[in-house]
Amino acid sequence: MTRLFFLFPLLAALFAIKVSAAGGEPQVAWHGTLKGGLAEAARTGRPILLVSGLACLHQVPGIW
């Protein structure tokens, strides 16, 4: 069973729109840990795009 926290909007979306597009522009799908990312790169043999960033600005969270 699925619990819906916004029953009406979700049902409206399910039945009124074609299930093909999500909100916002798609972004890079980031692995969030070195261990997980390296394991996936080793498994697939794909190259690595590595970035790092501080998950706060002047210690205020919620912003890179």
Partner: protein, 276 residues
Amino acid sequence: MDGSFLSTRATVEAARPFVCIRLATYENQDEVDFMKALYVSYTGEIANTMFALLSPDGKTRLSEADRSPAQVFGGVSQRRSDQPGATEQNKVAAARRVESMEVISLACPGKKGAGGAPQALPFLGDLRMAVNVAACDNQPLVVVYAEKPDELARLEKALQPIAWSKEVIGRALYVAVSDAAEYTRFIKGEKPAVGYALVAPEPYGRHAAPLLAIDAATKPDSVRKQLIAALALFNPPPKDFEKHEAEGLKAGIQWKPKTPITDRSRRQRGRSRRRP
């Protein structure tokens, strides 16, 4: 971190053949050590941000490693984007960046047979970090929850093809949780239930509110449809960086990284000295 260099459509597409890893700086000593082996600033320590393209084993640099794509490929940061010629410089840099990534992905096409297997979910390390990163990205977070390891593994596996499908890829973040206390500490208003929860972070990423819960017994096609529909409805306003920072400072909202910050700006050093 200036995300503008890695959020253009061309760069996002060029990044798809890569395994993309984004580390939160100063949160894990092993990761700090790895970064330190790739790039250190003039202080001999890692910087707040880093960029590099690496071989599949993570041992060989396929580009220079530096603070950001701008240092490697050129371009002007978002904060200086109003300076004369910035738009043109960024176009040239973006083309150079995309070309380099395309050349590397052709040279490293991946192992034969690996392309057919579902990719691992791109998990964040823990729920505290995941909610903050979701707030940083202004994106929703999919929490995969089960206390039993085999159940968690089953849920992860079932979600893999959905997470990497063209309708869902790059539109949400992911974290696995097996501890009910951790769940209730960061997800407000709903008890943990085995399955998937799509949650929305509050702006400062201290906690998140549930948007949708999907029971573990739900069939994959239904999971997919519900997730796509819920993601389509998630459309928060963009963040005003300066306002966010100012209001956060005023409210005393602080994030404490798990390892020491070694790349403090002059402003940060001054603020630290002023604190009792």
